[in-house]
């Protein structure tokens, strides 16, 4: 009941008119940016981060959760009406959602996505309420070797699981580790990769890296290809008939159940649960023939899974300080810019802030439903913005946001270089998330490794000294060896059949 009491305190702090206004503003701006084609949640959040800089932390995070939910909802609108998923998490939504829109059921697709997201967000946030304190307590019992193991797991799983080529995933991770190293070594004060440039001594701001990789990299990638933009499908006010609600609620709940645990673990993210939800609903549907022609279950399930995995990734970001998605990676950067260090201590050192943030997740979620159901036709109009204006705006605000962080023109040049890197990576099929995770977690992993080895006086066996670390490394080995194992098993069974 402690958690409930704390949550109520959080609500009383969050539910003041000014904060509600920030929540509404966040939802509006977040949706407006998220609905723009090609812009996913992480890019919206990275672009809008500077807007929250002048606010005090509580108001900033409340606005931020609004942006977060708005950006996610906007992304699914684009996926459904334009078949342009801005992010891998909405790829599955686009499959059936766009087919529904083409059949004239765009309004219903948007409605089931919005209500499904709301239900999943509410249940997911409730799971966060219940699990935050126990998770943080568990995390407090972990020492440096355990943290190092968790981070190694995050590195390897993100590099190995995402994208088509593991080699390119690890290369991306290596680039991220390198960028994260720029600046002073916190332990020894030695300069690394600063090349005598004074502006590099403090290292590269994570906002700069995120905006460079996501915004500038994406803009360069789009301008480099001459493909014609897709045409949006007009849509009316979203609504659901009784029959459609009947078909949606099962997928909503199942999607929610799939999403949360996957969101909370490092290699999980939203891709796997949304895909699993799609496959599950197709199996369970009483009308499987509708799949491939625009089945409402195929939108309801994955959208719920997507939002609930977002709640799961917030849980692990808050309690472990571990970003498991691009969006939470950017959120973590926002925390850090306020001098707040997410992790198990945060719940003890700043309980009011954490619970206000969790309360604002509920508020942002509700606000989203109230604002966006009626406004959907207006958002759909935003899809018609001509592409030059869209990407010129992205670049304009990317430059503005980067400059606003430190008022340092050289930062724009650094961001541009990272943007060019992001473009090269996109062009040659290297995933960008491992880079961002490497930049954020690299320096932390180094600190934990040092701490562990200092305590053990240089004895490397300390890294595998507890059952927890052994379990993690074994899990890691299985994860890495999995494709080879599957191949070997298939080979053997084929031989058994043929022999």
């Amino acid at each position: 009941m402690d958690a409930l009491q704390s949550l109520l305190d959080g609500f009383s702090a969050a539910l003041v008119p000014a904060n509600l206004l920030y929540a509404a503003l966040g939802v509006l701006i977040g949706t407006a940016v998220g609905v723009l084609p090609g812009i996913g949640t992480s890019l919206s959040v990275a672009l809008l981060l500077p807007l929250t800089y002048s606010l005090e932390p509580t108001a900033a995070f409340i606005m931020f959760t609004g942006i977060f939910y708005g950006g996610a909802y906007g992304g699914s609108t684009t996926a459904i009406l334009l078949n342009t998923p801005g992010e891998s998490s909405t790829v599955v939504t686009a499959i059936e959602g766009n087919l529904m829109a083409k059949r004239g059921l765009g309004a219903q697709a948007l409605a089931t996505a919005a209500i499904g997201s709301f239900i999943a967000g509410t249940i997911g946030s409730s799971l966060l309420v219940v699990s935050a304190a126990p998770l943080a307590e568990l995390a407090l019992g972990l020492g440096a070797p355990e943290y190092f193991a968790i981070m190694v797991l995050a590195f390897v799983s993100v590099a190995a699981v995402l994208g088509a080529s593991r080699l390119r995933g690890f290369a991306s991770l290596g680039l991220g580790l390198t960028i994260g190293m720029v600046g002073l070594d916190p332990q020894t004060g030695a300069q690394r990769l600063t090349f005598g440039v004074p502006q590099l001594i403090d290292g590269l701001d994570i906002v700069l890296v995120a905006v460079g990789v996501f915004a500038v990299g994406e803009a360069l990638w789009v301008v480099s290809r001459r493909s014609a933009p897709a045409r949006p499908i007009p849509v009316g006010r979203p609504w659901l008939s009784r029959d459609e609600v009947g078909r949606s609620w099962g997928p909503w709940l199942r999607g929610t159940a799939l999403g949360f645990p996957f969101g909370a673990i490092p290699a999980g993210g939203a891709e796997i649960p949304t895909f699993l939800s799609y496959v599950t609903e197709r199996k369970l549907s009483r009308r499987p023939e509708e799949f491939g022609k625009g089945a409402i279950e195929g939108v309801a399930g994955p959208e719920a899974a997507n939002n609930s995995s977002a709640a799961g990734s917030i849980a692990s970001m808050l309690t472990l300080g571990l970003p498991t998605s691009a969006t939470t990676a950017v959120m973590l950067a926002a925390f850090t810019s306020y001098g707040i260090q997410p992790g198990p201590q945060l719940l003890e050192s700043q309980p009011a802030l954490v619970w206000t943030l969790i309360a604002s997740l509920f508020i942002g979620n509700t606000m989203l439903l109230l604002i966006n159901l009626p406004l959907a036709p207006m958002w759909a109009k935003l899809l018609r913005i001509p592409r030059p204006y869209l990407f010129a705006s992205i670049l304009f605000f990317a430059v503005l946001g980067t400059y606003a962080v430190n008022a340092q023109p050289l930062d724009i040049a650094f961001m541009l270089s990272i943007g060019v890197l992001g473009f090269v990576m996109r062009k040659f099929g290297m995933p960008t998330l491992p880079l961002v995770i490497g930049v954020i977690l690299g320096p932390r992993a180094e600190v934990q490794l040092r701490r562990a080895l200092q305590i053990s006086d240089g004895d490397f066996t300390v890294l595998v000294s507890s059952p927890f670390t052994v379990v993690l490394y074994v899990g890691l080995a299985v994860l890495v060896a999995w494709p080879a194992l599957v191949r070997a098993l298939r080979h053997r069974s084929r031989e058994a059949i043929s022999g």
Partner: protein, 164 residues
């Protein structure tokens, strides 16, 4: 390995190999060249993690090179790997952002931002000079006041100091 034919699908992808190996080399050079890095300061020195990262990058570079020589290629999330690249567009955007970074403090945000927006519109294929110019100027002025009045972040006024 005698049967593996050498057949590269996309030679330009060796850029990635050069980039990875090049960065690995810079890391090693930066680490070995630094006098503090080699001094022992406990089990994990300043040099340890850079050398690990350099190893990862180097191995991945070599691995990708081998993959390319065997006919593999990095498949982008969207589009086809063989698509022709609009280099003019890419270079124009890079030049526009670089120009803005260089001129920002001298001419101020309103001028630099408007030029940036206008050049980006052009790079992305917009050909309505009058309309584009008006939108660029309005957006630059609006963003200046939004940051100044709304967020309390002063942007450099530059040549328009006193006017704004």
């Amino acid at each position: 390995m005698s049967e593996s034919r050498i057949r590269v699908e996309r030679p330009s992808e060796f850029v990635v190999v050069a980039l990875l190996v090049g960065i690995a080399a810079v890391l090693v050079w930066d680490t070995v060249g630094s006098p503090d890095a080699v001094a022992p300061q406990g089990p994990v020195t300043t040099a340890a993690v850079p050398l690990i990262a350099a190893t990862v990058l180097g191995l991945c570079g070599v691995g990708i090179a081998v993959d390319l020589l065997r006919g593999g290629q990095g498949v982008p999330d969207e589009g086809r790997p063989g698509e022709r690249t609009n280099w003019r567009g890419v270079l124009s955007v890079v030049a526009a952002v670089a120009l803005c970074a260089a001129a920002l403090e001298a001419v101020g945000w309103v001028v630099a931002g408007a030029v940036l927006f206008y050049l980006c519109l052009y790079a992305f294929g917009s050909r309505q000079p009058a309309k584009d110019l008006v939108v660029s100027v309005v957006l630059a002025i609006a963003s200046f006041y939004l940051f100044y009045l709304g967020l309390g972040i002063p942007l450099p006024p530059g040549v328009l100091a006193g006017v704004l």
